[in-house]
Structure formats: structure tokens, C-alpha cells
């Protein structure tokens, strides 16, 4: 059996930017800035390696400035790497940009590819020509995406009249017109309200399942990651911090649980090391338990000694908290090193 070619293969990828630094304030500083501009090198991506199999849905997570968007733009062939090896669908993005463009789609949440004064259909027509799609196939594709993305009359409404959520649906549909095998999404739900986010997540998931599109998604919204992706790659300072299933990230990284106890006694007084009382209302106590210090059994025993327990709920720590802890650990490590 032939081994499957990874959809994305990144090995020791590096990218730095030279940015101008203000020389100083006042006239002298400004003159110095013009005559001898000061620059500094900012490392955006630092020897990053990972691989993605075809059909995977991967969340690419990191704090601001971690190098997520830069990596995505390198993978899409828009930026050129300084070092390392990158292959997307068997092509080298910086060398085969135009060939690769036929195989990939990109969605940048804060940018737009739609012509602002015109209805999305005009941009769709333009993209059909740009991607050399057969006219009949293109029409069929537009009809299909109009139906899946519920574009209805939106497709003939000037973009300037669309809400952000409606526009994003059109943006994603535009990126899927040429049936890409791989989709790069950079914060596709940024700025959207709760229901619009849910719609976009559902559409991404469905489309990926239906067409077996490989997804690489960056987002600060853990909802995007949990609802759309099955795997997370976490980077920090341009370096790989974590790579594994989202479920493992949730339950494995932070050894903590959220426990809610409904007791016969009106209040429980649980002062134990490793146990933080989040709230204590009548007959209900919410706890945050660090399992490495306070095993669950010991906490429950302590509660039972005070009162009978009518019900109990145990949850993993929210993903937000897990990711915060990951970043904080990384910050601590880089500070000590």
C-alpha cells in the first residue's frame, strides 16, 4: 500500500521580519530616523515542525504574535520562508504558488475578497474565470454553495449591504468555489455574534465532511476549535508547544476538574489544599480541583463527612483555561531560560 502523502508537511520552518524602530522623539530623532533608520529583527516562526493528514481538521492556536497567521501565509505561498521545508499537497508553496492556488482556499476573517460595491455573484464569476473553472461546472458549484450556505438573495445583494455574518458566509463560499482540497482559515468567526458563529462552524464542519477538505484553522475562540476541529497545534513565540487531539488537550494538559455538588446541607465548608471554592450558594457548591494535589475521591469524602450529597457533576476545565495555562507555562519557561 502506498503511504498517504500528508496534506501539509512543515519541517524546521523559520521566518523573521525586519521592522523599523523609532529612533527617538523630537526633530533630532526624526532626522536620525530618516538618515539612519533603526531596524530590529522579529522572529515570527522559529523552527516549527508539524504534519497534517488529508481530511484532518486542525486548530492552529497561539497568543497574538505567536506566528499563526505568518505560518498560514507561508503555507498559502503568499510569504516566503527564511528557512526550513514546507510542502502543501505535495507542492512547495513559495515555488509553486500558482499551481498550489488551484488546490487550496483561504479565508481571512478580517480581510475581504469580495468587491465591496458589487453583489457576491460578480466576485464569484471573477473567481470562476481566475480559477479556470468550466462555465457549466461553475454554475453548478455556485448553485450548490448557495444552497449549502443559504445565500439565497444575498448572492445578488451588494456586499456593502450585507451584515458581517452574511459577508463571511459569502467569503467562505467564494473560497470553496474551485473545490479546494485544503482550506486555510485565519480567524473566520472574528467579530461575529453567537448565532453567526454557530452557523459558520456548522458550515465548515459539514463542508469538510462532505468534500473531505483538510482544514487548518486559527482562532482565539475555543468554540471554533471544539466545534470544527479534532486536533490542536499550539504554538508560542513561533515554536511548537503542543500537538495532539483536542480532547487530550482538554483533559490531559491541565490536571484540574470543575465539580459541582448539590448537598443536603445548605453550605459546605471545604477548605482543602488544591481545592478552590468558585461559588457557594444554597445547597450548591462549585469547586475547582487540582487533581495532582487533591484527588477527587478525597474531596468527595470530605464533602460526605459534612453532608449527604444529592447530586454531583464533574467537568474538565474549560478549554479557554487550559490554553491560558499553556501560554502561562510557556511564558514562565521562556522567562527562566
Amino acid at each position: 500500500m502506498r503511504p498517504t502523502v500528508p496534506a501539509v508537511e512543515v519541517h524546521q520552518l523559520s521566518k523573521s521580519f525586519r521592522v523599523r524602530r523609532a529612533a527617538g522623539s523630537g526633530l533630532a530623532g526624526r532626522i536620525r530616523d530618516v538618515i539612519r533608520p533603526q531596524t530590529q529583527t522579529v522572529v515570527a516562526v522559529d523552527r516549527l515542525s508539524f504534519s497534517i493528514a488529508p481530511g484532518e481538521r486542525v486548530a492552529f492556536i497561539g497568543p497574538n504574535g505567536a506566528g499563526k497567521s505568518t505560518t498560514l501565509k507561508i503555507l498559502a505561498g503568499i510569504l516566503q520562508p527564511d528557512g526550513g521545508r514546507v510542502q502543501v499537497l505535495g507542492l512547495v508553496p513559495s515555488r509553486d504558488r500558482r499551481r498550489l492556488a488551484f488546490e487550496i482556499g483561504t479565508v481571512f476573517g478580517q480581510r475581504s475578497q469580495l468587491w465591496y460595491q458589487l453583489p457576491p455573484r460578480d466576485t464569484f464569476e471573477l473567481l470562476g474565470r481566475a480559477y479556470e473553472i468550466d462555465r457549466r461546472e461553475h454554475r453548478r458549484r455556485i448553485d450548490g454553495l448557495t444552497s449549502v450556505f443559504a445565500l439565497g438573495t444575498l448572492i445578488d445583494t451588494p456586499v456593502r449591504h450585507l451584515s458581517l455574518g452574511e459577508r463571511m458566509r459569502c467569503e467562505i463560499a467564494a473560497s470553496l468555489l474551485h473545490s479546494p482540497r485544503m482550506l486555510f482559515l485565519d480567524e473566520p468567526t472574528i467579530g461575529l455574534d453567537v448565532s453567526a458563529k454557530a452557523v459558520i462552524r456548522e458550515l465548515l464542519w459539514t463542508e469538510s465532511e462532505r468534500e473531505r477538505v483538510t482544514l487548518l484553522l486559527t482562532s482565539h475562540d475555543t468554540g471554533d476549535m471544539e466545534r470544527v476541529c479534532t486536533r490542536a497545534i499550539v504554538i508560542h513565540g513561533g515554536r511548537l508547544l503542543w500537538d495532539g487531539p483536542i480532547a487530550a488537550l482538554r483533559s490531559g494538559y491541565l490536571k484540574a476538574k470543575r465539580v459541582t455538588l448539590w448537598s443536603e446541607a445548605e453550605h459546605l465548608d471545604l477548605v482543602l489544599p488544591g481545592v478552590r471554592v468558585l461559588s457557594s450558594r444554597s445547597y450548591r457548591t462549585d469547586l475547582d480541583i487540582s487533581l495532582e494535589i487533591a484527588p477527587l475521591g478525597r474531596v468527595v469524602d470530605a464533602a460526605l463527612r459534612q453532608s449527604a450529597i444529592r447530586d454531583m457533576a464533574i467537568e474538565d476545565a474549560p478549554l479557554d483555561e487550559v490554553i491560558r495555562a499553556l501560554y502561562a507555562d510557556a511564558d514562565r519557561r521562556s522567562a527562566t531560560s
Binding site: G77, Q80, F108, Q110, S112, W115, L126, R129, E132
Partner: protein, 263 residues
């Protein structure tokens, strides 16, 4: 370029035409501005002639000359603004990611805008100049002026693309464009035919593309054209090739130096 790529880039021209049709206000503004400029300069040249001051030949010829130079200037779309804004907003990531040449696509879109502006402004130029002078140049001159004027406006669009690409480094190219435009006013002979300028200015102008952009096409409405149609065609071709090379070179450098706002 084969038929398929031509069809691709024609699509960029078509969508720009559709966009320009929706933004008619901007075009109407240009029409009004054009009419006012021609009115003001028509009065000025007539006043100068009546005062006995020497203006080259018939002041009515100068009005027609200005109508042509302004028609070319105002028809060429300032595509550097759109390129600069796309870089600022970061939308350029989409444009660079398509399976097309970014520079040719922007140029094709510019030609689309030119295709909307040139006819409207051409009619404006003709009607206003006729209204202010009471006559038209010989038909033969007009037949030569129109294709050369359109070719010059297309070259001007390509040069504007070159300025726009500087935004990959500078972010803000308005100062560059401002200087470029002022040089074009003087060395291109926007207001007055170049042969009225001092010799050293004429010599300096001959080293630049500006005369073939404005003075040379417009001079066909005068009794003494700056150069023959054959020479102008050759010069336009030379400057077009030079511009294509310059655009290609700067674009290659721009993409390797690219940093995108906001990561």
C-alpha cells in the same frame, strides 16, 4: 498570452467596469471638474490673446490641446490608491493567493476603469472644447488623437501600477504620486505645448515618458505636432516595454519583501 489567460484578465477588467458603473458619482465629479478647468483656461487664453500677449498660435488650439491632455490625465485611473489601500487593509493576501499574476490583474482592472472613464470624459472634452472655441480640429487629427490618447492613458495606468507597488515597502505612496504628478504636469506639457518651454526643459522632458503621455498625443490638434504618429507609436512601445520590465522587477522584489499588516 494565450486565450485562457486573456479571458482570466478580461474578467478583472469586466468586474472593474461593473464597479465603476456603480460608483458613478466619482466620474460625474471628474466631468464637472473637467468642464470647469476647460472653462477657466479657455477664458485665460482668450484674455491673454486679447491683451496682445504672445501665446502660441490660436488660443482656441490651446483649449483643444488642454482638452486632450486633461482627457488623458483624468481617464487614467489612479490605481496606486487601490493597491495601497489593499496593502493597508491586508486584503492583498487574497489577491496574491489567486492563480493569476497580481500585477497583470491590477493592470487589467485599471484598464476596465479606463474603459468606463475615457468615453465619458472624451465626450465631455469634445463638447466643452467645442462650446468654448466654436470649432473642432480637423477630423484627421481627432482620428489620430483618440487611439494615441487611449494608448497613453493605458501606459499612464501601468506607470501608476508601478507607483502602487512601492506601497509594499512604503505603505503610503501619496507623496511619491504627488511628485510624479507634478513632474508630469511640467515635463508632460499638461497646460501648454512643450515647444513653448525653455530648451533645457524640453531636453529634460525628452528623457522621460511624460511627453509621450500627454504632449505628443495632444499636439496632433495643433498645427505643429510634437512628433509624427510613427515616432509616437514607436516611443509608446519603447516606454511600454520599459514599464513592463520595471513593474515585473519591482513586483518580484515586493513579494519577497512582503509583510502583511496584522500578521
Amino acid at each position: 498570452m494565450t486565450a485562457a489567460p486573456m479571458a482570466k484578465y478580461a474578467a478583472f477588467s469586466r468586474i472593474a467596469i461593473a464597479q465603476a458603473r456603480r460608483e458613478r458619482g466619482e466620474l460625474y465629479g471628474r466631468v464637472v471638474f473637467f468642464a470647469v478647468i476647460l472653462g477657466v483656461f479657455s477664458s485665460l487664453w482668450h484674455a491673454v490673446a486679447e491683451a496682445g500677449m504672445a501665446v502660441a498660435g490660436d488660443p482656441r488650439d490651446l483649449v483643444w490641446y488642454l482638452a486632450v491632455t486633461e482627457w488623458i490625465m483624468l481617464s487614467a485611473p489612479p490605481i496606486h490608491v487601490e493597491i495601497q489601500e489593499a496593502i493597508r487593509r491586508g486584503d492583498v493576501v487574497y489577491r496574491l493567493g489567486r492563480p493569476v499574476s497580481y500585477a497583470i490583474a491590477e493592470f487589467a482592472a485599471g484598464l476596465g476603469l479606463l474603459a468606463v472613464r475615457a468615453p465619458v470624459l472624451g465626450v465631455t472634452a469634445f463638447l466643452c472644447a467645442f462650446a468654448f472655441t466654436g470649432r473642432t480640429p480637423p477630423l484627421g487629427a481627432l482620428v489620430i488623437v483618440v487611439p494615441f490618447g487611449l494608448a497613453a492613458a493605458a501606459l499612464m495606468t501601468a506607470l501608476d501600477l508601478w507607483i502602487g507597488l512601492l506601497a509594499f515597502w512604503l505603505q503610503e505612496v501619496a507623496p511619491v504620486y504627488w511628485m510624479w504628478q507634478k513632474l508630469m504636469f511640467v515635463l508632460g506639457g499638461l497646460m501648454l505645448p512643450l515647444d513653448l518651454y525653455p530648451q533645457f526643459v524640453q531636453r529634460a522632458a525628452a528623457l522621460t515618458p511624460f511627453p509621450v503621455l500627454l504632449a505628443a498625443p495632444a499636439s496632433f490638434v495643433l498645427r505643429t505636432p510634437l512628433m509624427s504618429p510613427e515616432v509616437l507609436a514607436r516611443n509608446l512601445l519603447i516606454w511600454s516595454c520599459a514599464t513592463a520590465l520595471a513593474v515585473s522587477w519591482i513586483f518580484r522584489r515586493a513579494t519577497s519583501a512582503l509583510t502583511i499588516n496584522g500578521g
